[in-house]
Symmetry: C2
Subunit: 238 residues, 2 copies
């Protein structure tokens, strides 16, 4: 277990356009911001710039709420709850979130951003690109801001990852009393996404943070979709 | 918005007994660990040692699962789901979690730990104690490990806080395009609790972390119970 972590926002990331080389942009901005990426860093990239780089932008009529609603319906495979303008639905990726992740904020007026088609693949591409451009092995997490039942407020969670296990599995470990641990699976990529959000303001638009010092044993092949998304069949609330 | 945070586990916290002066123990251990507490630090304390200090330990028969089950039923005001040994229920505090927060791990065999009666009050006491003993104004978060629907794995969340707002409210702020933000309420104390868990191993029993560098504007009077716990009446999943 690592005893100390630092979390830092990378400043100077420009507005991202479709087709942008995100890995190159991030590696350059980090170096220019006096924090060149290093082996073992966890780079947390917010979903919005990934969706922009992957051209997941769709035109909407800003004066017609039905235009946004139609998109949300398109992106939903199952609607769990509907109240007023708010839809809680399951996306094709298996995420359960508000409005199927279709988001208007920090996107050019007249457009909405959809979630990346496959955020784990997006994370792998960024990780591979950073290796190619900066010669370092980092882990990458793509994060988004989700609500949850029972508690007010939103937190950032991981929707994709690469180079890090989504879940830290304590099965078989024992507590200080020698008893087998009951808490066996920790969603570390969600905790890392939340930690990164603490330095990324929603209003400032700063989209990338670097977390340094994570336990090297966490850095392995990993995926949100297969490890962290809970299938409806084992979910008590679907 | 703060650009950089550090998170560090405090080592050397001894086994906590009922009646222990937690604030004194934490302040001393931090100083001995070359990290004397400073104004503006956020001290994250895991629930287990708070429950121990407050003598929220109850005898259970380790060979009789019904003994644990009876406690869980006692601590639940509403059962949401039951599957095998697992109960998801609402506690008197309004938390929805597994087994009403009744926990056997890292507790002496033959005992279970209940949640603190009022974790916000616990946090206030620790904060006041640290001010009295070390002369510094810190924020305190009491954290626990909860599951959630739809996603596998557990994350640490805040069950009490003092000296920090539970929710960061962005209402009225605008995005980089000048549009009013849709994401308005961030559960920063949950994000801080998750961040702290990254340096606190479940197996090692290290129970306290210090987060340094949070935005000073977050440090205000705050409470989990009134700000962050969602009343059943406004919850779409109860």
């Amino acid at each position: 277990m690592s005893r100390e972590l630092t979390i830092r926002a990378i400043e100077g990331i420009p507005e991202i356009r479709p087709g942008a080389d995100l890995a190159g942009v991030i590696a350059t901005a980090a170096a220019d911001d006096h924090l060149p990426l290093a082996d073992g860093d966890v780079v947390v990239v917010t979903q919005k710039i990934v969706s922009k780089a992957e051209n997941r932008l769709v035109a909407v009529d800003p004066d017609d709420p039905l235009s946004h609603k139609a998109l949300v319906d398109d992106e939903s495979v199952r609607v769990l709850r509907r109240r007023g303008q708010l839809v809680i639905s399951e996306t094709s990726h298996g995420f359960v979130c508000a409005n199927a992740g279709v988001d208007l904020s920090n996107v050019e007026v007249g457009y909405a951003a959809l979630l990346p088609e496959d955020s784990d693949r997006s994370a792998r591409r960024i990780r591979d690109g950073i290796r190619a451009r900066a010669g370092v092995e980092v882990a990458v997490i793509v994060s988004d801001t989700f609500g949850r039942p029972w508690r007010r407020g939103l937190t950032d969670v991981a929707i994709g990852c690469a180079g890090i296990g989504a879940i830290l599995d304590h099965r078989g470990q024992h507590d200080t009393q020698g008893r087998e641990l009951l808490v066996t699976e920790v969603a570390v990529v969600d905790e890392l996404a939340s930690a990164a959000d603490l330095v990324l303001g929603k209003a400032t638009g700063c989209p990338v943070a670097v977390i340094r010092g994570v336990d090297p044993s966490w850095l392995r092949r990993g995926e949100v979709r297969s490890e962290l998304v809970r299938p409806a069949s084992e979910d008590l609330f679907r």
